[in-house]
Structures are given as C-alpha cells and as structure tokens.
Point group: C2
Chain length 155, copies 2
Amino acid sequence: MDTKNSVTLTPVQRLAHSELAGEIEFLTARMRSQGSTRANLLLAPLGLKVRSYSVLSLACSDLAPTQRELAEFLSLDPSQIVPLVDQLESRGLVERVTSPNDRRTKVIAGTPAGQDLYTQARKATGEAEEVSLKALSAAERETLRDLLTRIAFDA
Amino acid sequence: MDTKNSVTLTPVQRLAHSELAGEIEFLTARMRSQGSTRANLLLAPLGLKVRSYSVLSLACSDLAPTQRELAEFLSLDPSQIVPLVDQLESRGLVERVTSPNDRRTKVIAGTPAGQDLYTQARKATGEAEEVSLKALSAAERETLRDLLTRIAFDA
DNA sequence: TATTGTTATACTCTATAACTATA
DNA sequence: TATAGTTATAGAGTATAACAATA
C-alpha cells in the first residue's frame, strides 16, 4: 500500500485541500452530518432523535408554540409536525392544547414527564456539542454561535 | 389577528429566543437547510444538485479522487457514490479511470465538458454563498470559514 | 482474507396535494 | 375565502447486507 516515500494520508486529509473544502456550504454539510449523527446517538437511550428533541425543547419552553410555528421554526412542513407530536403525546411527554381564542390552533405544551425528559436530553445534546466544538476555545465558540445566529435569523 | 397592542412577530422571530435557538446543532441545521435549498435552486439550470456538484468539483480538481475517497470525504456510503458517478458519466462530464496500480479502484476524472460545466456551477454556488453570508463582513466570513474548517477536519 | 466497486432492499426523510374544521 | 391541522402518497435520501473482481 504505502511505500517508504509516500506519506500516509487519510482520504479526508488528502482531499481537505480541494476547492470544495473551502466552500461554506460543504463545511456546514459535513459539520451537520457529524453533529446530528452524534446527537442522535446520545439521544437514542432517551427514545429521542434530533427532530423529536427539538419539538420537545420548544414545547417545554415558556413560548407555547403552535404546530404551525414549530413547522416554520424547524424548517419543516406542517404535515411533518403531526407524527412528531403524535409520538411525543403518546408517550405522555407533550399535550395538544386547543387555543381558546382560535379552536383551529393547537399549542404544544410539555407535561411534567416531558420536562423531566427534556432536562436529561438537554444534557445529552450539550455533551454532543462539547465534542463537536472541542477544537475551539470558549471565546471561539461564542464567536461561532454569534455568526451562525446572524446567518440563521438575520437573513 | 393582531390587536393594536400586540407587536406583530413572525414565528421565527418569536421562537428565536428559545433555548433551542442557542444550540449550535440547531443553528447549523437551519443554516444548512436554507443553504442547500438555495444552492440546489441555482444549480438546477445546470442539471446538478449539491451532491452531484460536489462529486464534479472533486473530479475536476487535480486530486484524482477514487470512489472510495469521495464516499469518505462526502460522508456518504460507497454505494451512494455509484449512481452519482453514473449520472455524471452518462452526461459525459466525468470518466471512471481504472487505476494501473490496482485494477479494483477507479479514479473519477472530469472531462473537458465537465470542466466547463464545473466553472459555471462554481459561479452558482459562489452566488448562493454570497446570499447566505450577506449579513457578515468579509472579515467575519473568513473567521467563520476558519472555525468551520477546524470543526470539520481537526476533529 | 481483505478491499473496491456494485447491486438489492428496506427504511427514513421530504415534498405535494387534498381533506376537515374552524375562522 | 382563508387558515390550522391532518391524511395520503410519491419521491428523494440513507443505511445495510451481500456479491464479483481484484489484491
């Protein structure tokens, strides 16, 4: 395989100097692939994935999101929210609360059991983030969070 | 809908203060969703998507990647590379060049037509990136690129 | 015996349209 | 007439295992 004169490089190291590797789109795709794989792995023992975790997180906030809001915020179609909420509701983690003002809209609210699970799940995603960002200093992590926030919401 | 006393907020603005919105994993997911949608849109007139564009880009570099290397670098399974290369090859954009050293491995090489199309496609992804990062200064963009590169490759 | 590329298959995710009940 | 949620369905993407050719 390797001769004495050839330096051993992994495919990733070898192609890391490509023009593609300099594109933000590619870098975020790679980061996201690694990050979500890791997060899903750490959430699996709790019966959650990144998607269901995101819904649970918002349901357990004090923002009382409707399904429509969840869909828009999570960049999902409203029809995709239905089975996510169904699953969490069947486990007693969230409830569909029909709005008194408009009986069409349903606010998704976390139950006490949901709050408990969310607390554990938040630790898991925190660990996943810690691993993902281990190459960065605390200051760099805050810089990254600021830049990503502006891209995600200022646009 | 809105009374005189309620400030009109989009769902995204309203939920942007959630704990979830502070998580890197969520921010990259959102950025990626927006970015790949935009890139796919700009690549569509050329008959490419982000995936096939990535393969074409590496094939047109001077790195002579094998299919195995493409799979690892693009975080895909080797079996997913096959139809991507098939499609590009059928359009005469890339060629499978059997390695003289090891007749199992096939290097994916861009043809002149592939190089031409890549030049156009690179402009399209450049425009997409420009739109994605429009909220950031030039210096901030370089900072972001540096941070993402370290996360994607130092890990 | 291990590796590259390939094929086949099933599973998840995503996108679209149509339906209901409310407004 | 328009909107929130739901259902149904098809398409794209993803993961897995097994296979042939080559090392």
